[in-house]
Amino acid sequence: MRELFFGWYPIIWEEMVYWRRRFWLYLAVYMLSPLIFLLTFGYGVGQRLTMLMPGGVSYLEFLVPGVVALAVFNNGITSVTVRMFYNRLHFKSFEAYRLAPVGNLAVWLGFAVSGTFRGLLAGGIVLGLVLILVPGFACAPAGLLWLVAVAFSCGAFGVFLGLCLRSFDDQTVISEFVIVPMTFLCGTLIPLERLPGALQELVWFLPLTPAAEVLRAGFTGGPVSLPAVELLAGWTVLFFVLGIWRLNCREE
């Protein structure tokens, strides 16, 4: 246990040094796209979408948890993926972890928790924005616990992707084939019920769908669907197994 703690903690420490140096930049960056989503979808187009919403909720009510999920997802994953990509392939500083007496489990955990923190920071910023911009919005305390679970899952996803990247082109592939489709298809900006037939079922194979579902239920204080929780847990375990497998493949 001591080995595990001392292994992952330096990676978090390094992350905290970045935070200290660039906190205001992170704050501005993490605020920008959620703010655009809220203003354009929420207060712009969204004002006219009330009739399309399942269950009769306002679009803004639907949108807020989705934008939080998006912020956690995008930043939790991207922060780790980009850091690992540059550390592995550009600066080569990832080698320092491989040469140190630190196990693969500790390295995995260190980067996954770094991603979790970034996801939580991004999610927290969006929640703060929402409290200012959306009068009457209240977040159930359970929603915060689910936020941590979703952020950890995103961190785990980020580690796996970060270990798979081999070139700058791979980064584009991930952005175009993973991040962008999930942004629009996973029930964050548009209700799943409004997607074309078969797509409604297919999107459940994407990890952001259960994450958004769990957060939406958690924030409103409603019952959280067990299958969504199981899917989220399943994805996290899968990302963990794949991440450890990639770490075990020594780079030649």
Binding site: P10, Y18, N87, A96, R98
Partner: protein, 279 residues
Amino acid sequence: MIEIKGLTKNYGNLQAVSDLNLRIEQEEIFGLLGPNGAGKTTTVRMLTMLTRPAAGEAYIAGHEVQRDLARVRHAIGVVPQHMNLDQELTARENLELHGRLYKMPAAERGRRVEELLAFVELGERAGELVGRFSGGMKRRLMIARALMHRPRVLFLDEPTVGLDPQTRRRMWDLVRRMNRDGATILLTTHYIEEADALCHRVGIMDRGRLIALGSPGELKERVGRFVVEGFDGDGATYALFGTREEAVAYAGRTSGGVTIRETTLEDVFIQLTGRRVGE
């Protein structure tokens, strides 16, 4: 201190290192010399567990490299050929991170960071981001980082590649000081004069094989201490002799201008392979 038995590594059909057997003694500076692609870096990567060997085994400070990862990692310090510092941390933070990865207690870590920053003459730049450092400063910081956890064995892979002559000399001084402080050092280089100036013993590698082993003096003795170098119209000619007198006598019988000089490790390499180190 380092024992290598039958170490082999293939990349597809290419045999990068072939059946390498070697023993490096405690507090020795041992140089692996050879051209690019000779297998030097692959050897270091196998010894530092960054690459799995296809066959063979190695022991460092009595621990088997492939089986006893944690102990071996505590025993070794590595300065790779490429820069691998965190560019977004300061010099002090890079050392601090290394100390944390090696579980050094806070007080000892703090002392060691300052001591090593002074050792590599970076004390005044300790708070600057490494991304702003020159190549030589980064190299010195990498050496300081490799020494943080007081390793018994140091691997220096082409430690002076790309450095100007003045910085290279400073690096040599650092290597000698580390060795005086008790470190066993394995360095790879394709700079002949570096191996000559620093190493107690040298192993010459070519195409994945160790083709000669001994002190620089012994290796030169083996091919002849003096060289008569001339030019015959088609290219440079070399003739090696055991004594200066033999070399002078040969030069006297030769028409055209010739130069008599002492043998270098490059002459040894040419004699053994028929090629220059850079070819």
